[in-house]
């Protein structure tokens, strides 16, 4: 059990990273920001799920998916369908031709809920769908691709194509999906208003907890033999295959896990932002999510979260002042990261933390109970660090 805990926390180093991250998410940001800004952070943190999934899939597995938006979107749509049905009760939709169905269905002359909407009347089935539908979709794509040994650039292009197809499909089927507007006007979950201030805080914290939980699960995976095999496969796939492993099964599995994580992010997005639209599925958002992971460092689970936060803060700031420049800046940022910091923020941290022996000092502060004592201990290290 002890070994398992230390595995999950990633040793002392990993624990420190996790504590700092939790402190920022759960204490610093809620205290320092007004509710509007905190809502934005909450939204960014749902993207962080996708960035984390890409660390697992791309960083460790070497499988670059440029279509993670598919799974973010599917998770988000599953949740939105439930909330929309609840928002479309007969009383509030009584001006429609057919009361009791979502407004966009009514506009498109539908008179009853389509069959695939029916399960989303139940919250339990909806939560199951959020977890299962994207993973199942990933399984089908993964099975078709990896069993045929499609990989690398071809896989990336195919995921892009699927993201595009799904967007077009959703936009085209307005009566069933809400079309280009997406699913909007979401109000309550089982009668609980998701729009008022207290629910916003609650959802923000639930999102944060799920994100930390995801990190722990991912850490378990990458420290297990499975994780070692991922690294081995990235390096020498043939050698793994000729060591008696069915490589495709491992790839399919990690692709499904990544889809599941992205879907949780999508569902939390819908809950916090209050709508879901095809603009979160397509090519551009899928590539942006890769950029978040790249900026954070594609081998660092925690780095990916900082990457998502930082790039999105940047976007918000710049697009408030120079909206037309943002896309160029984002492209430039990606090129800069790939060329100069291939390991992203996490790589920079590693480099400078080693230089100033930050980690050692942190460890001393965390391992000794009293902060005052820790300071005293840390001071000599500081001087030696400066000398070195």
């Amino acid at each position: 059990m002890n070994a398992l805990t230390s595995k999950l926390l990633g040793g002392k180093q990993g624990l420190i990273g996790l504590v700092i991250l939790s402190a920022i998410i759960f204490i610093a940001l809620p205290l320092g920001l007004d509710l509007f800004r905190l809502g934005l952070v909450g939204k960014y943190l749902t993207y962080a799920f996708v960035a984390v999934s890409l660390v697992l899939l791309w960083g460790y597995g070497g499988i670059l998916s440029l279509g993670q938006g598919i799974f973010f979107g599917l998770g988000g749509y599953c949740m939105a369908m439930f909330l929309k049905l609840e928002a479309s009760d007969p009383v509030s939709t009584k001006i429609q031709t057919t009361p009791g169905i979502p407004d966009f269905m009514d506009w498109n002359q539908l008179t009853e809920i389509p069959w695939f909407w029916v399960p989303f009347q139940s919250l339990t089935l909806t939560i199951l769908a959020v977890l299962i539908v994207p993973a199942l979709f990933a399984y089908i794509i993964g099975y078709a691709m990896f069993k045929r040994r499609v990989g690398g650039v071809y896989f990336a292009i195919i995921t892009q194509a699927i993201a595009l197809i799904l967007t077009i499909l959703i936009v085209g089927q307005q009566g069933f999906t809400g079309g280009v507007n997406g699913i909007t006007d979401l109000k309550t979950m089982l009668g609980w208003d998701i729009r008022d201030d207290s629910s916003k805080y609650i959802l923000y914290y639930v999102n944060g907890l799920l994100l930390i939980g995801t990190i722990l699960v991912c850490r378990y995976i990458i420290t297990s033999k499975f994780g070692m095999l991922l690294l081995a496969m990235r390096d020498k796939e043939e050698r793994v295959r000729f060591s008696g492993y069915d490589v495709s099964n491992f790839k399919i599995f990690i692709f499904c896990v990544a889809a599941l994580i992205s879907a949780i992010g999508g569902a939390m997005f819908t809950l916090q932002v209050g709508f879901m639209s095809p603009s979160f599925i397509g090519i551009v958002p899928s590539i942006e999510m890769v950029i978040f992971a790249a900026v954070g460092g594609r081998m660092s689970l925690i780095g990916a979260i900082y990457g998502a936060l930082l790039v999105n803060f940047g976007r918000t700031m710049f697009s408030e002042t120079y909206p037309e420049l943002w896309l160029f800046l984002m492209g430039g940022l990606f090129i800069a990261v790939v060329m100069f910091f291939p390991n992203g923020l996490a790589g920079l941290y590693e480099k400078y933390a080693k230089k100033y022996r930050l980690a050692e000092r942190m460890q001393k502060i965390f391992s000794s109970g009293k902060p005052a004592k820790a300071d005293a201990e840390a001071t000599p290290t500081k001087t030696t660090g400066a000398k070195a």
Binding site: F226, R234, K236, S243, D246, F250
Partner: protein
Amino acid sequence: MSNTDFVLAIEDLTVSFDGFKAVDALTLYVDRNELRVVIGPNGAGKTTVLDLICGKTKSTSGSIKFKNRELTTLSEHEIVRAGVGRKFQTPSIYENLSVYQNLEVSYPKGRGVWGSLLFKSTDDVVNSVHRVAKEIMLEEHLDMEAALLSHGQKQWLEIGMLLMQDPELLMLDEPVAGMSAKERDQTADLLNRICKNRSVVVIEHDMEFVKKIAHKVTVLHQGKILAEGTMDNVQKDEKVIEVYLGH
């Protein structure tokens, strides 16, 4: 095809790439505990034969039986699990992992997705890693990143990764390519040690090395067997001198 006592029985094996027969009606038997060396000029089909046995290339016709089990219909990982290990020509190791991890990851337990997630490094695993590391002379480098090993050590590590799986048939493609004279001698000793309880098939060009290890030699030429027998007999064979050893 009949059942045999041979560990490996290749009969009438042919593979053709767009009409070019890289291996042409090859029949080859390998005994238990035998160390067989396959030699031949470039393009003779030596590596292709190994590719066919381990499933990397699918045969056009013919049969490959390992302990009377047909291999041509199995997929690569099933062939490995049946007990056939193969070392590639260029050292094929996981450069990002340590020597210890390279060996550990090759341990033949936890080979499924769930198995690997729940895999625990038990005493058996640790002992196997240390035993094999000692065998391949890398015991002192267990914590080293595999990328930092010398070329010869990488070759040994890959052999070690196969030994972790304890295969009954071990196939090595040019194991001493790029090694120093001393490393070659050490490798010859290593091969002589590890062929005790298993059959080994080696492809090699270095005749001095072949002499040290071979129980029997097969000479391939244009996808067919040119000669087979002890090293001395093969070296005296006029056809072999003509196409390969001669000039």
